[in-house]
Amino acid sequence: MNIPFKPNETFRDDYSYANSDAAVLRFPFPFPDDNYMYSVNIEPHVPGGPTPAFDNPFDVDEHYVAECRERAKVLEQDPSRCKVLPHMMAAEWDTLELIMESFATSYPEHFTLTREGINWTWENRPLGIRDSFTFGDASTLPLPPFEYITRQAQGDFTLQDQREDNLFIDGGMVTTQADWSMDFNVGMTFHQWHGPVPLAHEKGVFDRALKFLLRLQYGAPVRRLNWTMTVNPRLDTSPENYPQWGPDRTTVTPENVGRKLHLRVELQSLFRLPRSNAILFGIRCYLCSIEDLARVEIWGKRLHRVLRDLNPDIADYKGTTRYREMAVAYLAPFDDGAALPTGTAPRQSTLPPRSTLTSRG
């Protein structure tokens, strides 16, 4: 299947990013129930799920080309967004091998990997890349292997080294982060990294998740969803750039909240890497305006309930305090209060047009 890329959309300035109807319907909606609480919501990362976003190890969608461009822009301004400690070289090659193999298998019309022993040729047609290199010899690639391949993938990636019964974040490509920064995370442990999350520590969520991940097996990746909200479809909401995006938060009004406010979902995947024994953490970010989400009946109603009843500590942490009430007011007319089935599948295959969208209340 050919993916209709939208190479010219932007994630800054004029924010021309938008989801097609198909992209809305494949959104990895994160709320299976009417209320939200932290949990170890980890499941096997096997093909298939409530929407096609779960069909492949690494999802490529219509935003691929534009997102890779956005990444290049961020790196141009701030090369420190990609950092890998020297002892992670085997993990760099692991990552390149895993992503190239997955892309070539999942999307043969767009990516081709040809191998003769350790002589590889990689073709990435959407980005117009074709390189031949020697696997294992970094001098034959134009960039270090981890940077080379993660510049060609959507979402952020970190590399976790496993030692002393702990995981250390010893590398990463982080240009689309939701308010956390690679700069002060390189070398951190799993717990330090998850430091400020309220309630999660008391519930022992990270202790259990760490124990689980230390035993993660090659060939049995896992995934989980995380979410927050972002004003405007901005990928790079890093602390360093707060002056650029922070003020956006004051521009939300009851009139524009539907278009401006985006649910930001991270499809997080974790892979044990075979050669290095490190763990690759993929953080794939999806953005969808609440106006578009409300075009899916079951999602509009559920999002209303989740935001309305959100635990105040979590609401604070997610940074939603300022505009949560506006969002709840916007969504309320869509919610008739009827009981909803558990699960996140959209349960409809088309969307009502935006212009004729009216509330159902």
């Binding site: 124990k211 097996q217 090659y218 060939g219 049995a220 896992v222 075979p274 050669r275 290095s276």
Partner: protein
């Protein structure tokens, strides 16, 4: 969820000594073998008539081109199991099922220097280690302990690295190690693989000399064996009994019997698969239940835990 397996064809069998044989495998269906790293092992599922042996062997190389996988197997004298089967019944062209390579004995990548101590066939993971260290240029030292009559066999296996810091000891004592343990610069990690008695002695000696625990590593296939004692799970509400054999997990067995059970992570972390225990004593292997819940034996996490009693009655 069953773990993934691969079909491997035996490409070469090379006798190294009366009791040692090297096996080289390629994918039965063509293509590439799965990638692996130093310290990884391969579990072979050996079908010996009605018997199924599951044996784990260290991979002795991790070729970048993924053309093959290689192991060395010692025929255990009194073996009725996998090693005898491999030595006597498996030849070139045979196809064997295997799990994906897994690694319970990885290299510490931040170490500045690596000290390896092996006994007998326990040298196999270190053949892969040394290749990696040599490629990266990290300093290493190996002390290998073996019987005098096998010195030549191991010397030949280690010959490609003969220029390195290689010591083979055949005097039946660990004396040859003492100086190395005393004189290791900060940042050295110690790895040991071989008979339990050797590993225990090496680790004990290192600890007595003040080595911190985080720098000591030993090979163990313990975690590779998922199973345990067989038992019967009685599903009270469904009114059926499920036999859980030594190699199958409880949740897998319940699902195979056609009963739907809650689950999410399948690794003992998320808490979804919790089921009440009506009778019997669970063997808890999860990370979810707290000490009190465990002790009460009122709950079980079906994805990873098993039973201490021959029968376990579940509210399912």
């Amino acid at each position: 969820m069953m773990a993934q397996t691969i079909a491997l064809r035996v490409a070469a069998v090379t006798p190294l000594s009366p009791t040692l044989k090297a096996f080289t495998f390629v994918p039965a269906a063509g293509g590439l073998v799965p990638p692996s790293g130093p310290g990884a092992h391969l579990r072979l599922f050996l079908r010996d008539g009605a018997k199924l042996h599951k044996n784990a062997y260290s991979l002795i190389a991790n070729p970048a081109d993924r053309s093959h996988l290689s192991i060395i197997v010692r025929r255990v004298a009194a073996s009725k199991g996998g090693s005898a089967f491999l030595h006597e019944q498996v030849g070139e062209g045979d196809v064997i099922e295997a799990g994906l390579p897994a690694n319970l004995f990885p290299v510490t990548r931040t170490a500045r220097r690596h000290l390896m101590v092996s006994g007998g066939i326990g040298v196999t993971p270190f053949l892969a280690y040394i290749a990696a260290f040599a490629a990266e240029g990290t300093p290493w030292q190996l002390h290998h302990f073996c019987r005098p009559d096998e010195r030549e066999v191991f010397a030949a296996l280690l010959a490609p690295y003969a220029g390195g810091s290689l010591h083979i000891h055949c005097d039946g004592t660990l004396d040859g190690l003492d100086a190395a343990l005393r004189r290791q610069p900060l940042g050295t990690h110690l790895y040991t693989c071989g008979p339990e008695s050797l590993m225990g002695a090496v680790l004990g000696q290192a600890q007595a000399l003040g080595w911190p625990k985080v720098r000591l590593h030993s090979e163990s296939f313990g975690g590779a064996v998922a199973g345990g004692e067989p038992f019967i799970a009685v599903l009270k509400r469904s009114g059926i009994e499920v036999a859980v054999d030594a190699e199958t997990g409880l949740l897998d067995a319940i699902e195979a019997a056609g009963v739907e059970a809650p689950c999410l992570c399948r690794g003992g972390a998320c808490g979804q698969c919790l089921i009440e225990v009506a009778d019997g004593v669970p063997e808890h292997r999860d990370h979810f239940l707290d000490a009190e819940e465990r002790a009460s034996n009122r709950f079980i996490m079906t994805c990873v835990s098993r039973s201490r009693t021959p029968r376990l009655v579940l509210d399912l």
